[in-house]
Point group: C2
Chain length 217, copies 2
């Protein structure tokens, strides 16, 4: 009997950060690391680090720290980056273009296999080594190439129609850059990336005085 | 005596989502909204919504819900999006280009005033209405134009040097797309965006069986 635990987006995000710190530590020859050190780069408390990691089992020994390589490999397994994934991009505009050329993807096992657009001038051409296909061929090509993740980088108005086809093709994970709310069935994991929200983290910090309130006595 | 409370990144992110839901509700003529409704779109529990909002004061009336417009305006104030900000982009490659053309920025009050590159072929040309300046002019131009936020979209190897100059120019908020760890002084807010980490949320969900463990009795 297995039951999946509910892991928050923030925990997953921190696992990705730990993975990167551990990879850097391994590269510089470290064998073990304590929770304080692991949290330091990202300004996280040792308690937060220990809590996040304890979610997935028991690692490390009190006083000795975590074994760098073992923990790195375990997190890679949890994040599903100890293997490769077939990814397609729909929409080869500015953002789609940028993502096709994004070197970190390949490094983490995310291989862009297909790209789609509806612009006749782009269809049939190569973009950084990737052939751009007609979006009309989306469903059959996603299926034929065993695509597991799709990045949607089309205008807001076309996004839901694209997402519907992606879902019909059996894809279970979608990352959307379209600034609009999208509907997917329960079993499909959809993540929406909004660049303006990134800047709102900055403006929140710059505007801080506005929400300050009297300290409690 | 005022004291700023520690607000997590996830809370700030959720405020941005509430803001968008409230804007949509206002547009469709809603006067009030309950925490359940406000959380629904983003699959958040009513308790989470109430907890997030109570952080910033007391809104709403039990049984009647929150006043849509008032709450929207309050969140805009907290997020600092009830005003405009002067933003510069350094690096007009694929990502920088995409961001210059990103319409949501302007909508939320983030105005791209300047863009910089080190490519002589780009310097002096207009990109979507924005003049591309020589990155050698970074410091004086940031100061002269009262830039408050900088988006760094240069290769990893040049990012720290760019960030150092941005900090010297007195800018207190930076969003970096360079896949590398950057150092800034305590008083500067730095946020790093890594597209590969976005995909790791997807692979985590697809790879889920790997971390499932026996349910407790």
């Amino acid at each position: 009997m297995y039951k999946s635990k509910r892991i928050s987006d923030s925990t997953i995000h921190r696992l990705s950060l730990y993975y990167r710190s551990l990879a850097a530590l391994e590269k510089s020859g470290h064998q073990t690391v304590c929770s304080k050190e692991l949290g330091k780069r990202e300004k996280l408390t040792p308690a937060q680090v220990r809590k996040d990691l304890s979610f997935f089992g028991s690692f490390g020994t009190r006083g000795l720290g975590y074994p760098v390589r073992e923990l790195k490999d375990k997190i890679a397994e949890i994040l599903g980056i100890n293997r490769t994934w077939n990814v397609a991009i729909v929409g080869v505009g500015n953002i789609g273009s940028a993502l096709i050329g994004y070197k970190e993807f390949q490094k983490q096992g995310f291989h862009i296999r297909l790209a789609f657009d509806n612009d006749q001038r782009k269809i049939g051409s190569l973009h950084k080594g990737i052939l751009i296909s007609d979006v009309k061929e989306l469903k059959p090509l996603l299926r034929k190439n065993g695509i597991q993740m799709v990045i949607v980088a089309v205008p807001a108005g076309s996004a839901q129609a694209v997402v519907d086809e992606v879902v019909e093709a059996g894809v279970k994970a979608i990352l959307s850059f379209a600034p609009t709310n999208l509907k997917v069935p329960e079993e499909v994991f959809l993540r929406t990336e909004n660049m303006a929200i990134e800047l709102e983290h900055l403006s929140f910090h710059l505007a801080k005085p506005y929400y300050r309130r009297p300290a409690r006595p």
